[in-house]
């Protein structure tokens, strides 16, 4: 279970407070969506969960399975099952996709005290899971994300997620830059990972993604805190009324 308790986050350098007392609980087996206008703190929340150090948590706490993650390094959080699908997946010149995937999988296995994957086992897994996402192994011989289209980058993120089998998936605007077909493939990939052992936090501007990945709960994030929560119908309401209702002063 993910529990975020009265979280306050500022930008490390400027000290501007972006998240101002955010509380949220996502039980395992559930998919929660976070919607909100630009600048409401959605991406900050995603990055803080993953442990990016450009931000400072000034108060509050983030608990994953009952343990605070605030003192954990990003790689420790990953080993604890937290995965962030990036809004803008980064291009890594020179590092082949397969090398990257294998290094990541083995690093996490090592952190959990498991042995390294054999080459045939690794390739078999990659081929199987890649196939479901229309990702060819040839594509993974190329450097990570370099020269990939927007859709390819997002599919590659979901493939990483499928291979690393995290228990908390944070998807930061995974729908941005996707056409309808790519959106469907990516959503199917995400839906295939829905499981009673897994919690998901889907961050998005638009209701459209939630037609494909149907959430158990929808939260509206504006001005640094959750303004309203509800079931999936809340997303439809927002689609009609917009975020104006939440845009006033705190």
């Amino acid at each position: 279970m993910l529990e975020i308790k009265d979280l306050h986050v500022s930008l490390e350098e400027e000290g501007t407070e972006i998240i101002k007392g955010l509380s949220l609980t996502v039980p395992k087996g559930e998919v929660h969506a976070i919607m909100g206008p630009n600048g409401s703190g959605k991406s900050t929340l995603a990055n803080v969960l993953a442990g990016r150090d450009d931000y400072e948590v000034t108060s509050g706490n983030i608990l994953w399975n009952g343990e605070s993650v605030l003192e954990m390094e990003p790689e420790e959080r990953a080993a604890a099952g937290i995965f962030l699908a990036f809004q803008y997946p980064i291009e890594i010149p020179g590092v082949a996709g397969l090398t990257f995937l294998r290094t990541a999988m083995n690093a996490q296995r090592k952190a959990r005290g498991e042995g390294e994957l054999s080459t045939p086992d690794f390739l078999k897994t990659v081929k199987a899971k890649g196939g479901e996402l229309n990702i060819d192994v040839e594509m993974l011989k190329r450097p990570v994300n370099v020269g990939f289209s927007g859709g390819e980058k997002k599919r590659s993120e979901i493939l990483q997620m499928a291979l690393l089998e995290p228990t908390l998936c944070v998807l930061d605007e995974t729908d941005s830059g996707l056409d309808i077909d790519a959106l469907r493939v990516v959503s199917e990939g995400v839906n295939a990972l829905r499981s009673p052992d897994r919690a998901m936090l889907v961050i998005t501007h638009y209701q459209r993604l939630l037609n494909h990945i149907v959430p158990d709960q929808v939260h509206v994030l504006a001005r640094g805190k959750i303004q309203k929560s509800g079931d999936k119908s809340l997303a439809l309401e927002l689609e009609k009324s917009g975020y104006a209702e939440f845009a006033g002063a705190a």
Binding site: G51, D53, E75, F86, G94, F100, T103, A104, P143, Q160
Partner: protein, 450 residues
């Protein structure tokens, strides 16, 4: 008016060494004349210093406090196993070996059975016949105005004369191994002449190493001066790799190349932790339609200093030159790239590109990059670029968010960064060995940081 500069201790020592040993250096009277003339050039110019434009960033005069001994009669014995250890991954490359120990040809360690297409003669043997191996078409470029070149001619003790037959495809690389042994500081000068026949295809590797007990350092005057005269016949295809892993010593290396029409010449320079290395390439395009692909990887930390200086002369039309140098610098190390390309008036349709990039791991390391273009023709495509940067923290975060520890992430990023240069080596076993040497260096860096 010329201002006479007082000689430094190292310059004085060079003068004394020459007087002591010149009678014992290989060759007859004609060779002695060539040496004396070169020595005169060396003494007149002195060691290169920062007011010599091409040596602006490598002030050898200031850096070289002393020079070690020269003993033309010195014959070190070295076990083959020790040599293999010194070569590291390069020992596994199946190659024809020519081995020079402390500047002297070792018949024992060199490959005896040579393929028909290859002829190798020790330089000392060639000099015993006459001076022609040092003169005329075999003379190095810049004999008259470059003191490191003059030093080589004056002091050369041995080396290899390598001839590749016309049209031959040489399956195994030819590996010229220069090994430093013993605990005495020596200054060695070796000279090689390589003639690649028209249409031949060959990979040459120059491996500069030291065996474990070579404890003398640059501060003691441990210096290796190597020079290679290479002529590449029309239509030949040559991969020419230098790998310098002799930690602690000074290496002054000169390759002087003439490449014929329709040739492909691919020099590569790998330098890992020398005290000071100067890799200089003087190349002249001698025939149309030739392609030069020069690249390198430099790895330095501590006070180490690596200087890659190229002078490419597009003397004929329609040739292509590429330069790609990448390096990693830490502590107060210094990397230098000077990639001068001259395009003569006649050299229309020249296509030249230069790129030099450094990853800087500390705020105190230094990268001096000087791409230079001197263009006299008007129908050419030339460009240059250079970057220096820290490791991108966004990239590191991406790795870490996938569970990869920071140190591993940084090592992988550095490896892939220099890998883009190393993959320019077409000979796969050699490229693999160089990659492994680079990985070893990066792993040491990581282990020492932990």
């Amino acid at each position: 008016m010329n201002v006479a500069i007082a000689k430094t201790a190292a310059e004085k020592a060079l003068g004394e060494r020459f007087e002591d040993v010149h009678g014992k250096l290989p060759g007859g009277d004609d060779v002695a004349d060539v040496r004396r003339k070169a020595f005169g050039v060396l003494m007149a110019l002195g060691l290169p210093h920062r007011r010599v434009e091409e040596w602006k960033y490598t002030d050898l005069r200031a850096r070289l406090k002393s020079v070690g001994m020269i003993d033309p009669d010195h014959r070190a014995s070295l076990a083959a196993s020790k040599l293999d250890t010194a070569l590291g991954p390069l020992a596994d490359v199946q190659a024809v070996r020519v081995v020079l120990v402390d500047g002297v040809y070792s018949a024992e360690l060199s490959t005896r059975e040579l393929p028909d297409a290859i002829k190798i003669t020790p330089l000392s043997e060639a000099l015993a016949a006459d001076a022609s191996v040092l003169t005329g078409e075999n003379a190095l470029q810049r004999e008259a105005d470059e003191s490191v070149v003059a030093l080589n001619t004056a002091f050369a003790t041995d080396g290899a004369v390598i001839e590749i037959a016309t049209g031959a495809t040489v399956a195994k690389p030819i590996m010229l191994v220069q090994v430093r042994s013993g605990d005495e500081a020596r200054i060695s000068a070796t000279r090689n002449v390589v003639k690649v026949g028209a249409g031949a295809k060959v990979t040459l590797v120059e491996a500069i190493v030291s065996v474990g007990d070579a404890s003398a350092t640059a501060d003691d005057g441990a210096v290796l001066n190597t020079a290679t005269r290479i002529s590449v016949g029309d239509g030949a295809h040559v991969t020419h790799v230098s790998s310098n892993t002799d930690r602690g010593a000074v290496h002054l290396g000169t390759w002087s190349a003439d490449i014929g029409a329709e040739t492909v010449y691919r020099p590569f320079y790998f330098s890992a932790s020398p005290a000071l290395a100067r890799n200089q390439l003087f190349l002249t395009f001698a025939g149309e339609g030739a392609a030069l692909d020069a690249s390198g990887c430099f790895l330095a930390r501590g006070r180490e200093h690596i200087d890659n200086t190229l002078l490419i002369d597009h003397a004929v039309p329609a040739c292509e030159s590429r330069e790609l140098f990448k390096g990693v610098l830490d502590d107060t190390a210094r990397g230098i790239f000077q990639g001068k390309v001259v395009v003569r008036k006649i050299a229309q349709k020249t296509d030249g590109k230069q790129m030099a990039q450094a990853l800087m791991l500390s705020p105190t390391c230094e990268f001096d990059s000087k791409p230079e273009l001197e263009i006299y023709a008007d129908d050419v495509v030339c460009g240059h670029g250079s970057t220096c940067a820290e490791i991108d923290p966004d990239l590191v975060f991406y790795f870490r968010s996938r569970g990869i520890p920071e140190a591993t992430a940084r090592a992988l990023l550095m490896e892939s960064f220099v890998g883009e240069a190393i993959e320019q080596i077409e000979d796969e076993p050699v490229a693999d060995a160089i990659s492994e040497l680079a990985r070893g260096w990066l792993n040491d860096l990581r282990a020492d940081a932990a």
